[in-house]
């Protein structure tokens, strides 16, 4: 019979430490005793796992239906693949987005986002190859997507590690938009073969930055925040 010196409760013979405070049960005068039987076994029950391959296969088969239908129709009418390539690329993007959650054993937003982005860019490239523009995917789509992902990951990281909260997150989003715009304007100018200059993006950058500044200011003012919470509470 042993007692916890800290909590004063009696402990089951098999208990090696107090479950309440963690203090070890030691009786120096007692010799090594045979292991006592515990009330609870060591075996751990596990939940049935989702059959991830099954869902990937199911999604693949379901999405194969529109592709096959479109390709056959396309071949019958034009004797070659023309417009159905858009369907194929579109469905491919959808397939990547839908099956991504089943590829990863554990949810990891970095991996998942990168996987989705890779699928998106590949799908759009395929369309680009068959519907040649002036390299719009490489020049405009890829930079926008990559920037959004990068900014998104940074904001998620900052929010998760507690550097910014609510109003701070909103401010960070506005700031990231403001940073993106001049680059975007330059890219559009290059794509349209116009002289490079920053013109219209100022009209968006200015309000974005002022809203962000306002949000940061509000975030700092605890009393104001409290008043706002009270008035907007529902």
């Amino acid at each position: 019979m042993s007692y916890c010196v800290n909590c004063g409760v009696e402990l089951e013979a098999a208990q090696k430490s107090c479950p309440l405070c963690g203090v070890a049960v030691i009786n120096p005068s007692e010799k090594q005793q045979p292991e006592e039987k515990t009330t609870y076994p060591k075996h751990r029950d596990e939940l049935k796992k989702t059959d991830r391959m099954f869902w990937i296969k199911l999604i693949s088969i379901l999405l194969a239906v529109p592709i096959i239908t479109c390709v056959i129709t396309n071949l019958l009418s034009d004797q070659r693949i023309t417009w159905s390539i858009y369907v194929i690329a579109g469905v491919f993007i959808l397939w990547v987005l839908a099956s991504a959650p089943f590829y990863f054993k554990k949810f990891n937003y970095v991996k998942m986002l990168l996987f989705d982005v890779a699928g998106l860019i590949i799908g759009l490239f395929v369309i680009e190859i068959y519907a040649p523009g002036n390299g719009w995917v490489l020049l405009i789509v890829v930079p926008i997507v990559l920037y959004c992902i990068l900014a998104g990951l940074v904001i998620i990281f900052l929010a998760k590690s507690g550097y910014i909260r609510r109003l701070g997150v909103a401010a960070a989003i506005f700031i990231s938009i403001a940073i993106m715009l001049p680059g975007l304007e330059v890219l559009i100018d290059i794509y349209n073969l116009n002289p490079i200059q920053i013109a219209w993006s100022w009209f968006v950058i200015a309000p974005c930055l002022s809203v962000a500044a306002l949000l940061i200011l509000l975030n700092k003012n605890k009393r104001f925040k409290h008043e706002l919470q009270k008035r907007l509470h529902f």
Binding site: C7, L11, P19, T39, P41, H43, D45, K48
Partner: protein, 396 residues
């Protein structure tokens, strides 16, 4: 999920328990079913597989569909001297689970050569299941006129580090009924009220020690067995709850003040009229034609949405008391004690279940938190009051 266990005086013979289970299950009505998905509602259907006695685990009350699930909505487990039944709450409440366990044990001891009569809540397995046992008594109690809006505030929740991966930390304290009764008697309250009072006092102090920006009320949900109030013999779910509550913003509370509030809140809630009103509110939603027409997957979606908004926010924790368990004399000498345990709650993180057998009172905390500060506060409070407590735990 919740669990009722009996600790026997000897090691359990699993083969014999399996035989007893095969004999008991046909008598148990809804227990022999599995849950099927309909278009609008779930429904029960007879399960033809054999229900197997399973090995116990260090993390009991895990969700139903484990690797070795046979589709039943309950599990019978055995380990050393312990026989346990874990039941999904949609089938029945503590009373139904206990009836199953008692009947199973009666069959087990009969096979061992005892002559156990079908009394003290043990069902007679030679009979067919009775229709009154599968009655949905809520429907009978429902009274459209007594539906009221019950105002329940957002309550304090225990903070701590959450365990990952289906871990349920259990600490069971075994004390003497007489000792606790003497303590309760000093304050002229029942044992349940006393335990709820101690628990609320601990939660109250823990909240204050965290120095929160906003102090929230402490509200502990106490399930009530409605069979005692509405003359029902159903083995299905038939319970409601009372939420004694203290508003910690009103000033400092002493232990006596908290007991006073608990005592009177309980007495006020434990009337047929108040209970009818609570039940009717839930049944009314079930009777609503719009809700009934909603496909099941939408119902599930909305229910889980409403639950996440309101479900557990209004209570800090649960204290459920299965009460004094009595069994036929021939069985009693083979049983050391009974334990009652709650499964992992979604948001509350900790729950407390109580039952007593003979002079042994078992208070079982199950928690998904790494820390044991609530349990420590609770049991050391009892020890300081002079109540002897012996602990068992699955914590390392």
């Amino acid at each position: 999920m919740f669990r009722v266990s009996a600790k026997l005086n000897e090691t359990v013979d699993k083969a014999l328990l399996q035989k007893a289970l095969d004999m008991t299950l046909p008598r148990m009505g809804l227990f022999s079913c599995h849950l099927r998905t309909g278009l609008f509602w779930y429904y029960f259907e007879k399960n033809k597989k054999q229900a197997k006695v399973k090995d116990d685990a260090i993390n009991p009350c895990i969700r139903l569909y484990t690797k070795d699930s046979d589709g039943y909505l309950f599990r019978i487990r055995a380990h050393e001297k312990l026989v346990s039944i874990e039941v999904f709450h949609s089938v029945t409440d503590g009373y139904g689970g206990l009836t199953f366990l008692k009947t199973l044990l009666a069959q087990y001891f009969t096979l061992k050569g005892e002559d156990v009569p079908a009394t003290n809540g043990v069902l007679d397995c030679s009979e067919e299941p009775k229709s009154e046992e599968t009655e949905d008594s809520f429907q009978r109690v429902y009274n459209s006129k007594s539906v009221r809006a019950w105002k329940e505030n957002r309550a304090y929740h225990v903070n701590g580090t959450e365990e990952s991966g289906h871990v349920l930390n259990i600490i069971t304290g075994i004390g003497s009924v007489q000792e606790l009764k003497a303590q309760a008697k000093k304050h002229r309250v029942s044992i349940t009220e006393y335990i709820v009072g101690v628990y609320m006092y601990c939660l109250y102090n823990i909240q204050l020690s965290e120095h929160p920006r906003k102090i929230l009320p402490i509200s502990v949900s106490v399930p009530v067995n409605l069979r005692a109030y509405f003359d029902s013999k159903t083995l299905r779910n038939f319970s409601s709850y009372i939420n004694p509550e203290i508003d910690a913003n009103l000033g400092e509370y002493t232990f006596e003040e908290i007991l006073y509030v608990v005592h009177h809140d309980m007495r006020r809630g434990l009337t047929k009229k108040a209970l009818t009103s609570k039940v009717s509110k839930n049944v009314k939603a079930e009777k609503n034609i719009l809700i009934r027409m909603l496909p099941l997957f939408l119902k599930n979606f909305f229910i889980s949405f409403v639950y996440s908004l309101a479900g557990e926010k209004r209570m800090s924790s649960v204290v459920t008391n299965l009460g004094i368990i009595d069994v036929p004399e021939q069985m009693a000498s083979h049983i050391d004690r009974f334990d009652f345990m709650l499964g992992a709650p979604r948001h509350k993180k900790i729950g407390c279940a109580v039952c007593s057998f003979g002079d042994k009172l078992s208070i079982c905390f199950s928690s998904t938190l790494e820390e044991a500060h609530v349990e420590k506060a609770f049991f050391t409070f009892l020890v300081k009051k002079g109540v002897h407590v012996k602990l068992e735990s699955n914590r390392e």
